[in-house]
């Protein structure tokens, strides 16, 4: 929302948002993209556990090599992946600094002093380890969202959680909610833009003032948006009922998820990498 200063009311931001597909999904035809979403979700979960079980740099090294290979095969540009780390650069830096000064066991080899604080060699090593682990964690999950569209993710999650319905997990309802939310995000973005413009046409100012003032300036945007969202939900519910919707019982699906040979191979590779990491780390 850049207001009037450099151009139209947040026009570039909103326009771009509307045109792009939601999420970080990068459409490609790579082997990774073609994997069943369930495989990818499970694989990512396993990898996240593995990365925490690694004990030293050798383990992380194996993991990193595997991840680099996966990114290469996925045809997602390395630049995208690195840009995905931008939001957390501060966290990484903070972690590193804290580890450097406080991480090493007391009485370690001191590298230099900063007032009452001492940077130790052990701390530096530990800091680099933890930071690298964080980076690998983020890249792993990014790879999932880069190669799997939000709809596939919703489908995958639903099928994975299906067996747990007996235990009370509302798998179908959650998936339905997610699909409908994804369906309406672009529509709601468009509506937000329209409401913003209508209020600005009446002299609303969304840019000046401190945080409190700006928050209050959002009321003329949020209230109509919420009212509209509730009305949509209402109308949508009626339309769904008119087409015979009565919950997940007895429903079939047109799109079928099927495990293929490539999913088996991918699963074996991930398990293999996991074993290698743990073995080299000296479990």
């Amino acid at each position: 929302m850049r207001g009037d200063r450099a151009g139209a009311a947040g026009e570039p931001a909103v326009e771009l948002l509307r045109s792009l597909t939601i999420g970080q999904y990068v459409p490609r035809a790579s082997p990774v993209h073609r994997l069943d979403p369930r495989t990818k979700i499970l694989a990512t979960t396993v990898l996240m556990v593995v990365v925490f079980l690694a004990r030293d740099f050798r383990g992380l090294g194996v993991f990193a090599a595997f991840l680099a290979g996966a990114v290469a095969i996925s045809q997602v540009p390395a630049g995208f992946v690195l840009r995905g780390l931008r939001p957390i650069w501060f966290l990484l830096l903070l972690t590193l600094v804290l580890q450097v000064f406080f991480g090493g066991a007391s009485g370690g080899t001191v590298l230099w002093r900063l007032g009452p604080f001492a940077a130790t060699r052990e701390g530096l090593v530990q800091g680099l380890f933890v930071t690298t682990r964080l980076v690998l964690l983020v890249v792993s999950t990014s790879l999932l969202t880069f190669t799997t569209s939000p709809v596939e993710l919703a489908d995958g999650m639903e099928r994975l959680l299906n067996p747990f319905r007996r235990l009370g997990v509302p798998a179908h309802e959650l998936a339905m909610m997610m699909t409908i939310a994804l369906r309406f995000i672009p529509t709601l973005v468009e509506e937000t833009e329209k409401i913003m413009k209508a209020q600005m046409a009446r002299g609303a100012d969304l840019d000046t003032g401190g945080p409190l003032r700006r928050a209050r300036a959002l009321v003329p945007i949020l209230v109509p948006l919420f009212v509209s969202a509730f009305r949509r939900a209402d109308e949508l519910a009626v339309a769904m009922e008119a087409r015979g919707y009565r919950g997940g019982e007895g429903r079939t699906r047109m799109k079928q998820l099927r495990y293929r040979a490539r999913d088996l191979w991918a699963g074996l590779v991930v398990l293999g990498v996991g074993a290698l990491v743990l073995w080299s780390g000296g479990l």
Partner: protein
């Protein structure tokens, strides 16, 4: 065209909202009408005439306060018949956005058949047929928010079509569209009637659209005010004015000409018809 057993029968239907409270409102009062198989029926009226309320009784979204609604032999009050009724009578609503549920066109059209629990191969087949019938097959993998209003409504019609209904109710489905979109939707609706024999109930306040129907029922303040073919209904200019409705401009012009002594016969419904008649009258070879 009509067969012994009508598709939908409405018997002395009354609907009261919020009965027994200070907000009580009688939206529909003692309305009886019939929808015949394969006919194109226009249900017109201004805001507050009860047409939308009446529409929702046709597929049991609302139940009668008094009276009865029977769909192909099934009473809407019967809880066991509910889902079969909703399969036979499909409905397309006014807001093109607020009835599309999926992120991809073909998946939304599949929604209805999925609810019916049909096998995946059959669903895929029905989806393809339905999209082809409404002329949206090439857009099958598109995201709904990128479509125009007319296209969205056609997708909605496809979604209903995939359930193989006997009747489609267009509940003010053209009200929010631009002229191009309205033409698209009406063309599709007429094609459905001609090719598939599906009855269409078109609820609208646009008299030009009503003029294209087989039969018109005019509602006013919850009651049936006029009923008949478009020509019959549009004859009475004054009456329609009093009912807060407009006439197709051509009908108005015809009425005006008649008043001035030019004998316009019958009830021409479009410019071509009226022009032809006038030319014949003054001896010009058409």
């Amino acid at each position: 065209m009509s067969q012994p057993v009508p598709l939908i029968e409405v018997h002395h239907l009354t609907h009261v909202y919020h009965a027994g409270t200070p907000q009580e409102v009688r939206a529909v009062h003692d309305v009886s009408l019939t929808v015949h198989r394969g006919e194109f029926l226009a249900l017109v009226g201004g805001n507050g005439s009860g047409k939308s309320t009446l529409a929702k009784h046709l597929n049991a979204l609302l139940l009668p306060t008094e009276g009865r609604v029977v769909v192909d032999g099934l009473d809407t009050r019967d809880p066991h018949a509910l889902w079969e009724i909703r399969r036979k009578v499909g409905m397309v609503f006014q807001n093109p956005d607020n009835q599309i549920v999926a992120t991809v066109v073909e998946e939304d059209v599949a929604f209805g058949p999925e609810n019916l629990g049909l096998p995946p191969e059959e669903i895929a087949q029905r989806v393809e047929e339905a999209l082809r019938t409404v002329g949206m097959l090439e857009h099958r993998r598109r995201e709904p928010h990128l479509l125009s209003g007319g296209q969205k409504q056609r997708v909605a019609i496809a979604g209903v079509l995939a359930m193989r209904p006997q009747c489609i109710v267009l509940d003010e489905a053209t009200t929010m569209l631009d002229p191009e979109g309205r033409r698209e939707v009406l063309r599709t609706a007429h094609r459905l009637r001609e090719q598939e024999g599906i009855a269409v109930v078109h609820i609208t306040h646009n008299m030009e659209e009503a003029a294209q129907a087989d039969r018109v029922v005019v509602l006013h303040e919850g009651r049936v005010a006029l009923e008949g073919t478009p020509r019959e209904v549009f004859r009475d200019v004054q009456r329609l004015r009093r009912l807060r409705l407009d006439l197709p401009e051509v009908a108005e012009l015809s009425g005006c000409l008649r008043q001035r002594g030019i004998p316009v016969e019958g009830q021409p419904l479009d410019p071509e018809e009226l022009a032809a008649q006038l030319l014949r009258w003054c001896g010009v070879v058409v």
